[in-house]
Symmetry: C2
Subunit: 239 residues, 2 copies
C-alpha cells in the first residue's frame, strides 16, 4: 500500500493539479483533500494535472483532517520550519526509507502538506508521528506546496527500505489514527471535567504537548484500549 | 561558482517563475533563458517566483543556445527519455555529486531544461557532456519542466562532492563551450566544403554522432586549437 498524500486546506487548484502530476510521476495515487478553499471539483486542478487526471478524479475530499487520517497508522508532517515541539524530524531521504519500511510492514502511512501561505498548524503537526524538514538555503526556506511534494515523492520513489527510526517492536500492530483521535478526544474531555487546564491561555501548549507524547509512543490498539480504560476509571473516581 | 540553469525555449511564464522559486530554495541564482516563447520580461514569471523575484530580474536572455552556453565548460541535459545516442546518462543524485566536484575544481557547469511539450532536441542533447534522466514510474515519465528542476536542484543542494564520472585528468583545463562550438562550426564548414555529407537525409544523424564524439572527449583549450589547426591544414590540401 503506497502512502496517501493529504493536502490540508489547499488554496490554489493549480497546486493541487501539480501535486497530482508529481504523484503520477513517482508512483503515488491516493490523493486526499481536506477542506479545499475553492471547493471540489476544481477545473484548474484538472487542467494542471496533465496526464494525472485519474488521480484528480479519484481524489477523496474530507471536511476535517481527522476524517482524512482515520484509516492511517503513521503520519508525516511536511514542514519547512523547525517548531518548538518535541517531534522527531527527518530529512525527505530518511522519511522515504522509513516509508518503504512501513510499506513492507503493511503500515498505512500518509504525508501531510499544509496550505500555501501558512503551512500546517502546530496542532496538525502535533498529530503527526514524524516531521519532514526539506533542506533549503537558509535565506529561502519557503517551498511551494507542490514543489515540496515533488521532493518528498521523488525521494520515496528512488528509496530503498531502511529500518524505521521509531523504536516500537514491528511485530506489534499499530493503532489507527481513528483510535488515537478517539483516545485524545476522550482524554481532553476527561481533563476538562477535572479542570486540568487552569486557564485557557495555557491550554493550547499543554494540550499540544500531550498530543505529542501520545503520538510519539506508537501505541498499539490494545494500549489505546488500556488508556481509555484508565480514563474511565479515573472519571468514576472523580464522580 | 554555482551551476547555471538554462531554460531552452520555455513556453509558460508560470514555469519560469516556479523554476526561479525552486532555484532560490536550493541555493542557485544564475538563470538563463534561450528564446522564451512569450518574450521577456514576463509578468507571470515574476508573480510565480514569489520570494525569488531577484533571480527573475537578473535572468539573462539569449537568442540562441550557443550564446547561453559560451562561458560554460560542462553541460548537463535533463531529459526523461533515453535516446538513441552515445551519451553518458546519470541520475540526478550522480549528477549532483559531479556538479559539486566541478564546483570544487572551478569548472563552469550548466543544467539544460527543454521546452514544456517536446523537451530538448537531439541536437541540443548532443551538445551536452552528460544527460540526466530522472527516475519515474514507467507509465508516467513526462515531468513538468519546473518539477524536473526541483528534483535536480534539490539533489544538488543536498549533495556531497563525489568524483566525476568523466575520465579526463582534472589538472588539465577544460575547453569552454564557446571554443567547442567554434571548432564544431569550423568542422561543419570543412565537411561541407569536402562534400562529406552525401545526402541531406543522412546529415542530421552523422552530424549528431560527430558532435557527440567531440563533446564526450572533454577537450582542453589546447586540444581544440590543435584540432582547428588540423582542419585548416586539411582545407588547404583540398583547395
Amino acid at each position: 500500500m503506497t502512502p496517501a498524500i493529504i493536502l490540508v486546506r489547499p488554496q490554489l487548484g493549480e497546486n493541487i493539479g501539480a501535486a497530482a502530476r508529481a504523484m503520477a510521476n513517482f508512483g503515488l495515487s491516493d490523493l486526499r483533500l481536506v477542506a479545499p478553499r475553492d471547493g471540489w471539483p476544481n477545473p484548474k486542478a484538472r487542467e494542471m494535472a496533465a496526464h494525472a487526471t485519474d488521480i484528480i478524479d479519484r481524489a477523496q475530499v474530507f471536511a476535517s483532517l481527522a476524517e482524512a487520517i482515520s484509516d492511517r497508522q503513521w503520519l508525516y508532517a511536511t514542514t519547512a520550519r523547525p517548531r518548538d515541539m518535541l517531534k522527531t524530524v527527518v530529512t525527505p531521504r530518511e522519511a522515504a526509507g522509513q516509508l518503504r519500511a512501513h510499506m513492507a510492514d503493511g503500515l498505512a502511512a500518509a504525508l501531510l502538506f499544509g496550505p500555501e501561505r501558512t503551512g500546517l498548524t502546530n496542532d496538525e503537526i502535533a498529530l503527526c508521528d514524524t516531521a519532514i524538514a526539506i533542506p533549503t538555503a537558509p535565506e529561502n526556506t519557503s517551498l511551494n506546496v507542490a514543489q515540496a511534494l515533488v521532493v518528498v515523492a521523488y525521494e520515496w520513489f528512488v528509496a530503498e527500505a531502511e529500518a524505521p527510526a521509531c523504536a516500537a517492536p514491528m511485530d506489534e500492530p499499530t493503532a489507527s489514527k481513528e483510535e488515537i483521535l478517539g483516545f485524545l478526544d476522550h482524554l481532553e474531555r476527561a481533563l476538562d471535567a477535572a479542570h486540568y487546564f487552569r486557564t485557557e491561555e495555557i491550554r493550547p501548549v499543554m494540550w499540544r504537548n500531550l498530543q505529542n507524547m501520545f503520538t510519539r509512543a506508537r501505541l498499539t490498539p490494545q494500549e489505546v484500549r488500556t488508556l481509555r480504560g484508565v480514563l474511565r476509571a479515573l472519571g468514576r473516581m472523580n464522580a
